[in-house]
């Protein structure tokens, strides 16, 4: 089973898009630098002077105005009860997740075109439960049990107990037990004694289910991220921005047994973000954001005991690598209700199609499974106090998974974000 940890996918903060600031009366739009863009300059100037209609929607690539600080405190309530198998079919492994997280996000507009960001996620609660009966019906369980039994079956065949791998597998499935206590070496290097008289398949079930048996997860600080966003091109209805950042392994990971799920990812990652925003009509923004991440520095991961997945083995820690580009992003449509009437200027709604393609996790250069991908749908609404010169915003978003492959747990996220601004 791949790592179940609280990375950005859960907290949903890494390079979280800077929301609209452009239209607040106190702040000016970034001035277009190209001398030829006189129309844009004129419109910007006119808007500044005329203080025109306000829309609680803006492109995701918008940077903060110079000298502006924004503090965001999101609150995530995350649940999950299913995932997706390798064929994209919904699968229920019997796992139920309930977790909450927050973060402290500090952003600062260095110039009108460049913002800096510091993000410190914090896991508040991390609870996961497993229903063994449901898990035992899953393909994952069956595959792991079959793999365990195949190893025993080959030994039985070598001893002449049964004539073929198929017959030996059938014999084990029928409840065959060894007549004498027998030690076997598990992949972790641990020694397991198969007791005489205990059906071998009971051990298979115990070990496979035991490896998935969760305990209360770790809480606390996650992986801290720092980054910047630069507005490459900006017009009143179109913008392109790029950003870069680092995620640092400040969360717990390396020495966290599998049952407890750490708060971080364990590696140093570099991220490159791209935003393209377009407003086909006033107050209506269509945007695309993609963030490509590449591991810069690998980490380590101590092995979890197969006999008790709440414990670590004494074996030397394994080298962790994340191979391949990890892409996360979304397509967004945001609409300021101010287009209906300016009395609703403080309200906005948005919807997103979100996607993610994970990198491949390798421990000691052994892949831990195929790359996972996921898709989700997000809908949300926001209240923008800036419409009333109040430097506060509140947004609520609800994200539901709609598809994926090789996803152990596809999360449903309820995200409440509070934002406050301050201008030096």
């Amino acid at each position: 089973m791949r790592f179940i940890s609280f990375g950005p996918a859960l907290v949903g903060l890494f390079f979280l898009g800077a929301p609209a600031l452009a239209q607040q009366p106190d702040f000016t739009l970034n001035e277009p630098k190209r001398s030829g863009d006189r129309k844009a300059k004129a419109k910007a100037k006119a808007r500044k002077v005329d203080n025109g209609p306000y829309y609680a929607a803006i492109g995701e690539g918008q940077t903060l105005p110079a000298g502006v600080i924004r503090v965001r405190v999101p609150y995530n309530y995350v649940t999950s009860g299913h995932g997706y198998d390798k064929d994209g079919q919904r699968q229920d492994l019997g796992l139920k997740l309930k977790a909450t997280a927050t973060a402290f996000v500090l952003e600062y507009g260095v110039t009108g075109r460049m913002s800096l960001q510091l993000l410190a996620p914090y896991i508040l609660s991390n609870e996961l439960g497993l229903d063994g009966t449901t898990f035992a019906k899953s393909d994952l369980y069956k595959e792991r049990v079959a793999a365990f039994l195949a190893g025993v079956a080959s030994k039985l065949q070598a001893q002449g107990i049964c004539p073929s791998p198929e017959a030996c597998a059938r014999l084990l499935d029928e409840g065959y037990s060894l007549p004498v206590d027998t030690s076997v070496t598990l992949p972790t290097g641990e020694s397991l004694t198969l007791r005489a008289g205990v059906p071998v398949k009971s051990y298979a079930g115990s070990i496979v289910t035991g490896a998935a048996r969760p305990k209360e997860g770790r809480t606390g600080l996650g992986d801290v991220e720092i980054g910047m966003l630069f507005s490459v091109f900006r017009r009143y209805n179109f913008g392109i921005s790029v950003g870069a950042g680092l995620r640092l392994p400040t969360g717990s990971f390396a020495d966290v047994p599998a049952a407890e799920r750490g708060t971080g990812r364990g590696t140093v990652d570099f991220g490159l973000r791209t935003n393209v925003d377009f407003a086909p009509a006033p107050g209506l923004w269509i945007g695309w954001q993609n963030q490509a991440e590449q591991m810069l520095k690998g980490g380590t991961k101590r092995q979890t005991s197969l006999l008790d997945n709440g414990e670590l083995t004494d074996a030397e820690a394994q080298e962790l690598e994340r191979v391949g580009i990890r892409n996360v992003g979304f397509f967004k449509v945001g609409w300021g209700l101010g287009t209906l009437t300016q009395s609703l200027a403080s309200l906005g709604v948005q919807t997103q199609f979100k996607y993610a393609k994970q990198s491949e996790d390798r421990l000691d250069n052994v892949a831990q499974g195929p790359r996972a991908s996921s898709q989700a749908f997000l809908a949300g609404a926001s209240f923008d106090g800036l419409a009333y010169r109040l430097p506060l915003q509140v947004a609520y978003d609800h994200e539901v998974p709609i598809g994926g492959t090789n996803v152990t747990l596809a999360t449903t996220v309820q995200l409440l974000t509070l934002k406050a601004y301050y201008k030096f």
Partner: protein, 623 residues
């Protein structure tokens, strides 16, 4: 200040949402590996208890080896009374269907070809002028009234072409479950076909093959089928019935109580009947109560080894039952049961002895639990017909004792007293005055046998030895004693070039293949060889007449604890390790009246069998 507000609100929301929904819990999760315990297995445990054996669960391999090497507790002296009761019970069940072992009709005897001599090492065959090969069709009794069954059975009969009153009837129980082929018979007897009337039945449900049975295809070889397979019977048990039944037909023909036309190769009547052909050839016991009865021996290889011993046990049970005849119950086995067989010698080559012992006990567990088809043991000869043996037990319609009895009926050590009762020098038997002389038994086995482990022969030999040397009486009313047994056993070592790292090379089995026939036994013999002196027969005897034959009350001895201890020495040494060559018992129990015979020179299995046939077996046939 502006920062404080959002944080406060967030924490407020946290407290609200965190209370939403149930906290996930782990449910229905199996215990960790360290806490797994053996589940109760009453079906197996109850059956094991009924058989007096362990349940194959031990912490260490050494403990398991010791457990598996411990035979049924019925064989311990402390349970002598239980053993006697068990033997009595199984004798009763044998007796209840004793008619199935009796001949009802010889349908026809047709010549097939001249006999052959076959080199077991090369398979090369040549004509043997000393005997001819015939197909015999016959019917056994369908019930106690003597009514013939509907469909005839088939077997091979080899009849010497020359000789005068010097041929012994030899019941041959073949190995495997592919069918009976003459090549196996010819290889087993060789030139002994010249002075033995060899009677070789198929087993129920098996074809009769022209030449040999092909182990690879599990069918008659390319030479084809003489008689196709009929209805399958319960292996070992029904096999023994067929062996005894065909032998009975020939024995009756030998004393003129049954007959049939003899046909030539084309099916034409030769004008000679079977009785007429056999009468001048057969050697009779010549003295004592069974003076007119043709001498007989029984010989089995592999599967047939156990079949031969069960046939002996059924014969012993019949003799014991007949000995209880009285005015009130003149025919304990039914009015049509005239006479049992009168064997003097038995040879068991590479035969299994007990499914409840040693390596086979591990398979018995899977068999009882209904997993036989998934094990290698499913291919063991006869298992195809026995896979459902414990179905009724698992269904709960048969009790453990009854299910155990199905095992005992196919177990040589647990029926050893009945075998002893059947095997003796009948020339020295006189009703009421002489108990007969010792019979002769030969046990040959490959020490590295991969099909039937050597431990089977070790148990077989030692239990027979102890049974014959410790004639503890079972019947409180009958002080009769066993006449004893000349028992020879040899474990054979394959040629050195077939061994690698102390184990037999791949592709060799030392079981009916060249690795067995080419192997040798070198001094000292790997099994003990013992001649047990005969013991005087008290005057008491039952009386029943059948064709001039008398019936006898027979003792049912059981081995002593001390003898079993010696037996376990063998068993422990050989169990589970083919490369652990067992050592012979160091000294004989002089008090038991036995003498030890060590082999003075290297012997091949064929030479050992020939020497035994001309030695101990001949002695058992000498009046």
């Amino acid at each position: 200040m502006r920062l404080v507000l959002p944080s406060t609100l967030a924490l407020l929301l946290l407290s609200l949402t965190a209370a939403c929904g149930e906290t996930p819990k782990n449910t229905n999760v199996p215990p960790p590996p360290a806490k797994l315990a053996p589940p109760p297995s009453p079906l197996w445990e109850n059956l094991a208890a009924a058989l007096g054996i362990g349940i194959n669960q031990e912490a260490t391999e050494a403990a398991l080896r010791a457990q598996l090497a411990t035979p049924s507790s019925y064989l311990a002296s402390a349970r002598a009374a239980d053993y006697a009761k068990l033997v009595g019970t199984v004798a009763q069940t044998y007796g209840a269907a004793a008619y199935a072992t009796r001949c009802a009709e010889i349908v026809a005897v047709q010549k097939l070809a001249p006999a052959k001599l076959v080199d077991p090492l090369t398979g090369k065959a040549e004509d043997f002028a000393g005997a001819t090969l015939h197909l015999m069709s016959y019917k056994l009794q369908a019930d106690g009234s003597g009514k013939a069954e509907t469909n005839p059975r088939s077997g091979l009969i080899v009849i010497p072409t020359t000789g005068s009153a010097n041929s012994v009837i030899a019941a041959y129980a073949h190995g495997g479950d592919f069918g009976l082929g003459y090549a196996e018979v010819a290889a087993a007897f060789g030139e002994l076909q010249g002075n033995h009337v060899v009677v070789a039945p198929t087993y129920p449900g098996e074809p009769l093959c022209k030449q040999a049975a092909d182990a690879a295809t599990r069918a008659c070889d390319a030479a084809g089928v003489i008689v196709p397979a009929g209805t399958r019977g319960a292996a070992y048990d029904a096999d023994a019935d067929e062996l005894l039944g065909m032998y009975d037909c020939v024995m009756r023909a030998g004393i003129g109580k049954a007959d049939a036309k003899m046909l030539d190769e084309t099916g034409k009547d030769t004008g000679v009947t079977l009785a007429a052909a056999l009468n001048p050839l057969l050697k009779r016991h010549g003295a004592g109560t069974a003076a007119q009865v043709p001498q007989g021996i029984v010989f089995g290889t592999s599967r047939g080894g156990l079949v031969a011993q069960i046939a002996l046990a059924k014969t012993g049970a019949a003799l014991s039952a007949l000995s209880a005849a009285s005015a009130a119950n003149p025919a304990p086995l039914g009015p049509a049961y005239l006479s049992p067989a009168y064997f003097s010698c038995a040879a068991v080559v590479s035969g299994p002895a007990s499914f409840a012992f040693a390596e086979f006990r591990l398979m018995l567990e899977q068999w009882v639990k209904g997993r036989l088809a998934s094990t290698s043991f499913a291919a063991f000869p006869g298992m195809a017909s026995l896979s459902g043996l414990f179905d009724a037990y698992r269904d709960g319609t048969v009790a453990a004792d009854a299910a155990a009895l199905a095992v005992v009926r196919r177990d040589a050590p647990l029926t050893a007293p009945l075998q002893l009762a059947a095997l003796r020098n009948w020339a020295k038997f006189t009703q009421g005055t002489a108990n007969g002389g010792p019979g002769a038994m030969l046990v040959l086995h490959g020490l590295y046998d991969k099909v039937v482990p050597i431990s089977q022969a070790q148990l077989n030999f030692n239990v027979m030895l102890q049974a014959s040397t410790s004639p503890t009486l079972v019947s409180a009313t009958d002080p009769a004693k066993s006449p004893g047994l000349a028992l020879f056993g040899r474990g054979f070592t394959p040629k050195a070039d077939l061994l690698e790292g102390g184990k037999l090379k791949a592709g060799h089995f030392q079981h009916g293949d060249a690795a067995f026939f080419g192997s040798t036994a070198i001094i000292p013999g790997d099994f003990i060889s013992a001649t047990v002196t005969g013991q005087a027969l008290p005057s008491e005897a039952g009386e029943a007449a059948a064709n001039g034959l008398a019936q006898k009350i027979f003792s049912v001895p059981t081995p002593s604890a001390a003898q079993l201890k010696a037996a376990r020495g063998y068993i422990l040494a050989g169990i589970l390790a083919a490369d652990a060559v067992p050592k012979p018992v160091a000294a004989a129990d002089a008090a038991g009246g036995e003498t030890i015979h060590l082999v003075e020179e290297a012997l091949t299995p064929a030479a050992a069998f020939g020497a035994w046939r001309l030695g101990a077996c001949a002695a058992a046939l000498t009046n």
